[in-house]
C-alpha cells in the first residue's frame, strides 16, 4: 500500500505520464480538461489557485502552464492596513504575505490574468465586518469593480446585503466560510443572486452530490476544496482569531485530560449529596491518548510531513456529482510551491484515473489514513 497519493505520483513512471499527456493533454492543459469557452461536458473542470502581491506575469504564465484555470486572492489596501492591520483582515487570512497590498498591484494582476483568458476572484470572506468598516469596504469594492474582477467571494450576510443595495455588478461567490451545509442554506443565499457556491470543507462526496441534485435549476456553479489546509473545525462557526499569535488555536498542542461526565440527573434532589468521582479507567484512557496523538497528527499533517491534505482521488466522483471548480488552497505559497502543487495534483489525478480509483466503491486505496483525505469516508 502506498503512503500517499503524492508518493504515488512521484514514484510513477514518467514515460507513462508522457504517453497520457500525448493522449489527452497539451502544453497548456496537462491534465486534459476542456478549454474555457468550450461547451461544458462530463470531465470538464477547473483548478482555482491563489495569488498574491509578489506574483509577476511570468509566475502567472507558469501557473497556467502547470494547470491553473482560475485565480483567487485577497487585498489589504493601505488604508485598511493602517486602521486594522492584517490581524483584523478583509478576508480569512491574517498575515501580510497572503494578500495584495495595493490597488495598483492587483490591477496589474487582473490585467495579466484577463489577457490570458482566465478569471480572478477577490475574497471578502471574513466572518463579519462591523459598521465602522463599511466606508473602507465600499471604497474597496468600487475600485475592484472598476478593475473588472470576475467575482467577490463573500460569506457575511450583512456584506451581501450591502453589496446588493449598492448595486455592485461583480458576481457573488458564496464562500466556504458561509457554511452552506444544506439545501435550505443554499436557497437562502441564492435569493441574493449568486454565480457560484463554494461548499464547505466538511461535507462528504455523497452530501455534496445530494445538495447539487436537490438544487433547483438554473443551478449555480459549484466549487469544492481539493488540496491543503483542511481546517479541523467548521470555519463558519470557528471563533478564535488566527492573528496576533504564532500558530492557530486548532494547531496548538494541548494536554487533554479525560473525565467522566456528571449528568443533570446526578444533581436531582434525591441524589444531592452523592459524591462524584470523574476518574476514567485505564482501559478508556489508552484509546483516548491514542486518539489524542492521532488528532495532533491530523491537525498538523502539513508541518510534520511536508505534505498536506488531498482529495484528488474523489475528483471524478465530484465531477459526476456536478462540481466543476476545485480550489487548491494556496494563498501565501511561493510560486514554486504552487506550480509544484498544480503539477503534483495533475499527476495524482492521472494516477488515479489510470488505476480507475473509485474510493467510495473500492477497497483499493491510495492513502493509508482517512483523515489525510478530504473526501474519503469509511
Amino acid at each position: 500500500m502506498l503512503l500517499s497519493p503524492f508518493s504515488a505520483a512521484l514514484n510513477s513512471d514518467d514515460s507513462h505520464i508522457i504517453i497520457i499527456l500525448k493522449y489527452v493533454g497539451t502544453d497548456n492543459n496537462p491534465v486534459g480538461r476542456m478549454e474555457k469557452g468550450q461547451s461544458v461536458m462530463d470531465g470538464d473542470f477547473f483548478f482555482t489557485i491563489g495569488t498574491s502581491e509578489n506574483d509577476t506575469p511570468s509566475v502567472v504564465k507558469d501557473l497556467i502552464a502547470a494547470g491553473a484555470d482560475e485565480f483567487y486572492c485577497g487585498i489589504i489596501p493601505p488604508d485598511w492596513a493602517e486602521k486594522y492591520g492584517f490581524q483584523i483582515s478583509l478576508n480569512r487570512r491574517e498575515f501580510r504575505g497572503n494578500h495584495f497590498l495595493s490597488y495598483e498591484s492587483l490591477a496589474r494582476m487582473v490585467e495579466e490574468v484577463h489577457s490570458r483568458d482566465r478569471e480572478i476572484f477577490v475574497t471578502f470572506n471574513a466572518s463579519y465586518y462591523v459598521d465602522r468598516m463599511y466606508k473602507l469596504i465600499i471604497g474597496c469594492v468600487k475600485r475592484l469593480e472598476e478593475m473588472k474582477v470576475d467575482g467577490f467571494i463573500v460569506s457575511d450576510i450583512a456584506l451581501i446585503l450591502a453589496l446588493r443595495k449598492l448595486g455592485i455588478s461583480v458576481p457573488l461567490i458564496i464562500s466556504g466560510e458561509a457554511g452552506v451545509y444544506n439545501n435550505e442554506a443554499l436557497d437562502f443565499f441564492r435569493e441574493f443572486g449568486i454565480r457560484r457556491v463554494i461548499l464547505p470543507r466538511h461535507l462528504t462526496v455523497g452530501e455534496i452530490g445530494d445538495i447539487i441534485a436537490r438544487c433547483a435549476e438554473p443551478k449555480p456553479e459549484f466549487e469544492v476544496f481539493l488540496m491543503n489546509q483542511r481546517c479541523p473545525y467548521n470555519s463558519n462557526v470557528c471563533t478564535p482569531s488566527h492573528g496576533w499569535i504564532e500558530g492557530n488555536f486548532c494547531f496548538s498542542i494541548y494536554d487533554k485530560f479525560l473525565y467522566k461526565r456528571v449528568s443533570q440527573a446526578d444533581f436531582a434532589e434525591e441524589k444531592t449529596r452523592r459524591g462524584f468521582d470523574g476518574r476514567v479507567p485505564l482501559k478508556t484512557m489508552t484509546p483516548w491518548l491514542d486518539n489524542c496523538a492521532n488528532y495532533n497528527f491530523f491537525t498538523k499533517v502539513n508541518s510534520y510531513t511536508g505534505e498536506d491534505v488531498c482529495g484528488v482521488c474523489a475528483v471524478d466522483d465530484l465531477i459526476a456529482a456536478g462540481v466543476k471548480h476545485f480550489k487548491l488552497v494556496s494563498r501565501g505559497y511561493s510560486p514554486g510551491e504552487r506550480t509544484s502543487l498544480l503539477r503534483k495534483t495533475g499527476s495524482v489525478l492521472r494516477e488515479c484515473r489510470k488505476r480507475r480509483m473509485k474510493p467510495a466503491a473500492s477497497r483499493e486505496r491510495l492513502c493509508e489514513v482517512a483523515y489525510r483525505c478530504y473526501y474519503r469516508n469509511p
Binding site: K83, K256, V262, F267, W288
Partner: protein, 326 residues
Amino acid sequence: MELALHYQGGMTGGMLNLKRFERRLSHRRDKDSLFRQGIVDSTGETYAGKLLALDVTEANRIYFGSEFCEKRIPGKKELKEVLRFCDNNNLGFTLLTPLVTNAGMNSVRRLLDVLAAKRTTAEIVVNDPGVFHVVRRDRGEFEIVWGRLMSHLKTMPRFAREWPLNFAAKADEERQTGALRLNAEQIYALRNSSLSVGLFQKFIRKEGVRRLEFDPLPQGMSAPAKEGSFRLSLHYPWVYITSSRICEMGAMGLDRDEKFTPGGECGFECRRYIAQWDLAAPRASDRIFNVGNTVFMICGLSREGLVKYAASCRIDRVVFSFLPPF
C-alpha cells in the same frame, strides 16, 4: 433579568430555584471533581452562586435541543416530555438547533412539527442559515433567536487570562512591549460583529428575529443594537469557542484508518466524557474543555464582573448551564 436553564434530561422542578440549587452544590464534598468538570471555580465557588448577583433566583424558561451537533438533535418523544415539564412548571420554551446537513434538517423539521402541534408560543434558536431560512418561512407564531454561532464574534481563548473588561487595558500594557498591538478601531472590531450594521439589523428583524444571543467574551462586547430593537441573551458560564463535523471525541472508539471524517460514526462519547485542555500559554484560558465536537471555555468573571458585564451590554436574559451545554 430573566433566567433560563439549559435542560439536558433528569432535571427536577427543584433545580429551577437557583438559591436552593446553589445551596445544594455548596454542600457537596466532591469539590475537586466538580472543579474538573467546570462546575465550580478554583476557589470552590459555584457559577450558580455567582449568578445570584444578577438578582435572578427562579428560572422561567427552559432551553432544550442541540446547539452544536446534528446527531444530538433530540427525538420527538424527548421533546414532548420536555414540553410537558415546561407546561407543568409554567415555563417558557426555547428550542436549540445546530448547524445541519440535509439529514439533520429533516430532524429539525420533525421537531418543528411537534412544536407547532403542541405550543402556540416558543422560541427557536437558529445557528445555521438554512434553519433560519426554514423557520423564517414557516415560523407561524414562533420567535426566531439569532444563535451565538451566528454572531461570529471572536472568542480569543488565548488572550483570556485577565478577562473580560480589561482587554483594552491589557492591550495598552502589551503595546509597551510590542507583543500585542491593538488600537481603538481594532478593539471596536473585536467587541462588535455584523449585528452592528443597521442594514443587517433591519433585515433580520423583518424576518422575525427578536432576540440575539452571545457569550461573555474576554475582550468585552458592545450592545449591538439600539435599545428596544432586540433583546439580548448571555450564555453562562460555558463560552463557545469552536465546533466541527469532524468529532475528535467521537473518534475514540474507531480504528486509526477510520478516524476524523466529517459526520463519521461515533459512540456518543460526548454523553459520557468531558476533556480538559491544558494549553501551556501564559495568556490563554486555563479552563478550556472539549465535549464531543465542540470546545468551550469557562467564563472567569467574578460576581461583580458579571453584573458589570451584563449591564454594559443591556443583557436581559442569562442562559445558565451548570454542565456543558451539550
